[in-house]
């Protein structure tokens, strides 16, 4: 089964393995080894898309990563739809279903093509900036939605991506990017030195230009046979990792390179669970960039019709895939590569109507004529014809205007070194006048370029350059290179530098004609010239004004011609105009690859306590606190949170509750200077805290604002058990280490995080002692022996226990610290014992309500980085006699002692049923213009039978008894300022 444009033989496709696929629903047959582009071309299909702005019919232009037009969507199922793939990179598999983009209703008949015929001249450069400026507000409501509907490339899938993406860190002595002749030669030399080598190439088959090297020998062997042998030899080496289908998309500082490896997109039936792509994050001692070059298109009127392609791409389709891109071709030449293409295509049976060389006669022209080819020199290109496929090209040569019938026009504009990665590595580019291209200059990293990407275009040059790069890279990576012979090539027609930049000579009026520079963003020579005339002199400005080079292809084809046009219009040299920044990624990378494993449940570590599973089994609803999962409440029989929390609160106040406080940060501060350290660090006085006693500690930042708080117990003269907030654990420890390591190296004291050593089981409520007493040994829990704010080591259930008598609820309370490997066992033992005492488990929401009833603050809720201890009503905690502690000096600054600072107060709404919104602003009814504070906490209190709130209010303590307003959309809520303690202000319930 041969398609009509397939040659009888040749190429690396498997002619015994036909592959069925569809494009826009129509069935075609290709061959194993085809890309979607080569298979479509083999079937005579050039028309693959509509252009971005004018919806002009567009065909395949290139054969690789530089393709601007052939963007397709590939659909496996509803969730697996990938837009904006390049048909030149999509490997064909049986059942592949691809669709064109940016057309409505079909490729052949696109309603939006009116943009081209009627509106085209009204969409000049800067159109968006000029047109949609007014009326004010119309952009959001009117223009943008319509533009978005009309424009955009591709359609995003609507379901979550079901595929798996994987990742790996890798370390290479030498990373070689690009497996063309230079890359392979470099890898051979590097590998021979014994260095660890990674060789990556974006295509499924390695070899680059060697894959299409007909009539060429390397070391006396057919070039393609040499390639096969070389790759097999490299693959057999244990120190070489070969990564085909792997694009080096980004070059980051310190030789850190991102590679995206495609694993299953080429398979008809990927195994379930098999990763689709792998992100390689490679750290390389040395990098060899062998990225090759990109063929330059030519800018002439109507140069975008389907059937108008890059010349070397046509040769590649022939030599790699056995595909003829047409029957009758005209080659527009600005570079000698045109002649190589002409000879090879003609040999395959494609009629070459003419070679239209815009240059003065070159030697290759004469030998082509000798071989019977028609060559026209000093030619101008006037335009092309053909609606859905080019049918003719009009040229002027020797003063004669002529229209040449053809079905293919090939553009040979020369080659532009691919310096994207080099530029990303912050290497400096240097304009080479002889080659007419930017080349890598001084490196910014441990890197070297080799081969065509630094202007060594000819095969023999590229091989030698690659070999030398491989050797020097090995040397610089600390290895001794072997003197492997440098491969030598014969027969390849040398294709050097030169070529053309900017618009091709034409008699046509380029201010009217559409001569495309950027196919993907529909930018013409006229647009760029207009931008230059309007005063956009920097190429960075021209780029943004015209959008040239800003599409998904990042201007791979267009940038150099845009430079040429600006240079012509402004009369300045290309180096004077400068160059736009080359940004990662080189080609688009899927979000899946970048996200890797960091998605779903594994997006962040989900930290769970030893008691988590028990809570889950007992129906807890969890909330995220930092990375922790904390039980928020335990609903019963379909209760909502309000009902569950009300029930839990009452039970703790009347009976007893059990609460998992394991997430609290814990730091053991040990050493002879432990008390002195605590004294310098926290606001409180610590020197006189007795062993076995606890104190509520407040920590400031050096700027005087409250950072953290927690109960601290003294276990021994030289040992403190410090607790922090859940979210502050790491921050407080880091800050302590900072002071110890960098400021107070005189202190003999050390810190150890014990957050996870201990499970913390809070038992709170009037019956707490009764619940615990039967389980503990080695301690007397009586009020006399173990009063409030005590700490002691003892045993519970036969395991070690560090018991604290503390209360964040206002009730009699204990916090049982047990080694976390025993946490659940002890929890369950207390649970069993407590059930006969009416105990229930409560969560963080109930904990919040209980502490608010007592006016205990929560860091991050009542504080926000601008609250001093005095603001929060914690001035009593400060050790007044201490000469210094962290933040003390700041507390003496004028603004910190101003009487109108925001101070913590309680609010009672006049309507007891109204619960204020946390974060709501507060105003003074006598002067309602400015907010004087905000609500920090607000709950319904079952114990009090009404709502309560805490708030920070300017000069709040002087406003006791005043009525303030909390303005809401439905009108202001009135509330009275009260002391921020709503229940048991004397603490009688705690001291029992």
């Amino acid at each position: 089964m041969t398609s009509s444009f397939r040659t009888a033989s040749g190429g690396r496709v498997d002619r015994d393995r036909p592959v069925n696929f569809t494009f826009d629903g129509k069935a075609y047959v290709g061959l194993h080894g085809d890309t979607l582009a080569s298979a479509l071309l083999a079937n005579g299909v050039h028309l693959v898309g509509r252009s971005f702005k004018y919806h002009r019919p567009r065909g395949i232009v290139g054969s690789g990563a530089d393709e601007p037009n052939a963007l397709v969507g590939v659909r496996r199922d509803a969730a697996r739809y990938t837009p904006n793939l390049l048909a030149t990179q999509v490997e064909l598999y049986d059942g592949l279903a691809a669709v064109s983009q940016n057309r409505y209703p079909s490729l052949e008949y696109d309603c939006m093509a009116v943009n081209d015929t009627l509106l085209g001249r009204f969409i000049p450069a800067g159109f968006y900036y000029k047109t949609f400026m007014w009326p004010k507000g119309a952009w959001d409501k009117l223009y943008e939605p319509r533009i978005r509907k009309a424009a955009g490339l591709g359609v995003a899938p609507t379901a979550p991506d079901p595929d798996v993406y994987t990742q790996r860190y890798a370390h290479a002595d030498i990373l070689v990017i690009g497996a063309g002749p230079a890359g392979i030669a470099a890898a051979q030399q590097a590998a021979a030195s014994g260095a660890r080598v990674i060789l990556a190439d974006d295509r499924p088959a390695m070899g680059g230009s060697l894959l299409a090297a007909a009539d060429t020998t390397v070391d006396g062997e057919d070039a393609r046979a040499w390639l096969r042998g070389s790759l097999a030899a490299l693959a057999a080496l244990s120190n070489v990792t070969m990564l085909p289908r792997t694009i080096a998309f980004g070059y980051y500082p310190h030789n850190w390179i991102g590679l995206a490896e495609k694993l299953t997109d080429h398979l008809p039936y990927p195994a379930s669970g098999q990763p689709r792509e792998r992100l390689w994050q490679v750290r390389a001692r040395q990098v060899v960039i062998a990225a090759g070059s990109i063929e330059r298109p030519l800018v002439f009127p109507d140069n975008d019709r389907p059937g108008i392609m890059l010349a070397d791409a046509a040769r590649t389709y022939l030599q790699e895939y056995g595909v003829m891109v047409g029957r009758k071709a005209v080659i527009v030449a600005a570079h000698d590569s045109a002649y190589r293409v002409a000879h090879e295509l003609r040999a395959a049976g494609i009629e070459i109507a003419a070679i239209v060389d815009i240059r003065s006669p070159v030697p290759a022209a004469q030998s082509a004529r000798d071989a019977g080819l028609r060559v026209l020199c000093d030619a101008k290109v006037e335009g092309t014809r053909g609606r859905l496929r080019v049918s003719a090209i009009t040229i002027t040569a020797d003063g004669k205007r002529e229209t040449l019938a053809c079905d293919t026009v090939l553009m040979a504009g020369g080659f532009t070194p691919s310096v994207h990665l080099f530029s990303q590595s912050r290497g400096k580019l240097v304009w080479d006048e002889a080659i007419q291209a930017y080349l890598p200059g001084e490196s910014g990293e441990a890197e070297r370029s080799a081969g065509a990407c630094r202007g060594r275009f000819a095969l023999s040059e590229a091989l030698a350059d690659g070999a030398e790069a491989g050797r020097s890279a090995a040397r610089d990576a600390g290895f001794s290179p072997m003197d492997l012979p440098i491969p030598s090539a014969q027969g390849a027609r040398a294709c050097g530098g030169g070529g053309h930049i900017g618009a091709v000579p034409t008699g046509a009026d380029l201010s009217r004609a559409k001569a495309f520079v950027d196919w993907q963003n529909d930018v013409t020579a006229r647009d760029i010239a207009l931008a230059a005339r309007e005063g956009f002199l920097s190429i960075e400005h021209v780029k943004r004004y015209t959008t040239t080079g800003m599409a998904t292809d990042q201007g791979k084809l267009s940038n150099i011609n845009a430079l040429g046009i600006v240079s012509n219009v402004t009369g300045r040299s290309i180096p004077e105009i400068g160059l736009t920044t080359f940004r990662a990624p080189y080609t688009p990378v899927t979000f899946g690859t970048l996200a890797g494993k960091a998605r779903g449940d594994l997006f962040d570590p989900m930290r769970v306590t030893a008691i988590h599973d028990w809570a889950a089994e007992h129906g807890a609803v969890f909330e995220d606190v930092g990375n922790w999962k904390r039980a928020r409440y335990f609903p019963r029989h379909g209760e909502d949170m309000h009902a569950a929390v009300g029930r839990e609160c009452l039970q703790v106040r009347n009976q007893v509750g059990i609460f998992d406080a394991s997430t609290l940060g814990k730091i053991e501060v040990v050493g002879p200077d432990a008390a002195e350290f605590m004294n310098r660090f926290y606001v409180n006085a610590w020197l006189k805290l007795g062993v076995g006693r606890c104190r509520y500690g407040v920590l400031l930042r050096e700027d005087g604002f409250v950072l953290d708080d927690g109960v601290v117990g003294r276990l021994a003269p030289d040992r403190f058990h410090v607790t922090t907030t859940t979210g502050g654990a790491a921050r407080v420890l880091a800050m302590m280490e900072d002071y110890l390591q960098t400021e107070w190296s005189d202190l003999k004291v050390w810190l150890t995080s014990t957050t996870e050593q201990w499970s913390v089981i809070a038992v709170q409520g009037p019956k707490a002692r009764a619940v615990l007493a039967p389980l503990v040994t080695g301690i007397d829990l009586s009020a006399e022996a173990f009063p409030h704010m005590s700490i002691a080591d003892a045993q519970i259930c036969g395991v070690p226990m560090r018991l604290m008598r503390v209360s964040f609820t206002g009730e009699l309370g204990f916090e049982v610290n047990v080694p976390s490997g025993h946490g659940r066992m002890v929890w369950e033992a207390i649970w069993e014992c407590g059930r006969s005492n009416g105990m229930l488990a409560y969560g963080t929401e109930t904990m919040h309500v209980l502490r608010a009833e007592k006016g205990f603050i929560i860091i991050g809720q009542e504080t926000d980085g601008t609250v001093t201890p005095d603001d929060a009503g914690l001035g009593w905690a400060i050790g007044k006699a201490k000469p210094d502690f962290v933040g003390k000096r700041s507390l003496a600054r004028p603004a910190m002692i101003a009487p109108d600072r925001k101070q913590l107060v309680g609010l009672l709404t006049h309507d007891a049923a109204t619960v204020l919104e946390e974060g709501a602003q507060i105003t003074d009814p006598l002067d309602p213009r400015a907010a004087i504070g905000h609500v920090t906490s607000a709950y319904h209190s079952v114990a009090l039978g009404r709502s309560i709130a805490l708030a920070l209010v300017r000069g709040g303590r002087a406003r006791m008894g005043h009525t303030l307003h909390v303005p809401m959309p439905d009108g202001a809520i009135t509330a009275e300022v009260v002391q921020p303690v709503f229940l048991d202000p004397e603490g009688a319930r705690i001291h029992v």
């Binding site: 310190h254 750290r283 050096e702 880091a734 003496a892």
Partner: protein, 94 residues
């Protein structure tokens, strides 16, 4: 991801480190003796050079030590790292 040469552990990836701001700003011995303006300078005023910057890093997910580094803010390249308490080494300023 940068490579940072921890003075204790050697070259390690940036994700093991945390940044600690400008180096060589000692906490005043007796803060109470400072006027408001001087204390303000200690708290808030920092350099923002284009070029060599002496800054604090901590190998928080490694040896946990604070140390100092000279980094060129233009290139992100580290010119030197050194232990707390040591003077900044002389580097040729590019």
């Amino acid at each position: 991801m940068l490579i940072i040469d921890c003075p204790y552990c050697g070259a390690r990836p940036e994700l093991e480190f945390s940044y600690g701001g400008q180096a060589h700003i000692a906490r005043p011995q007796h803060p109470a003796d400072l006027c408001d303006e001087d204390w303000n300078g200690y708290l808030y005023v920092r350099d923002n050079p284009k070029g060599v910057h002496a800054e604090r890093w901590r190998h928080i997910h490694g040896c946990a030590r604070f140390f100092n580094a000279l980094r060129d803010t233009r290139t992100d390249h580290f010119l030197a790292t050194y232990k707390v308490g040591e003077p900044a080494p002389k580097v040729s300023r590019p």
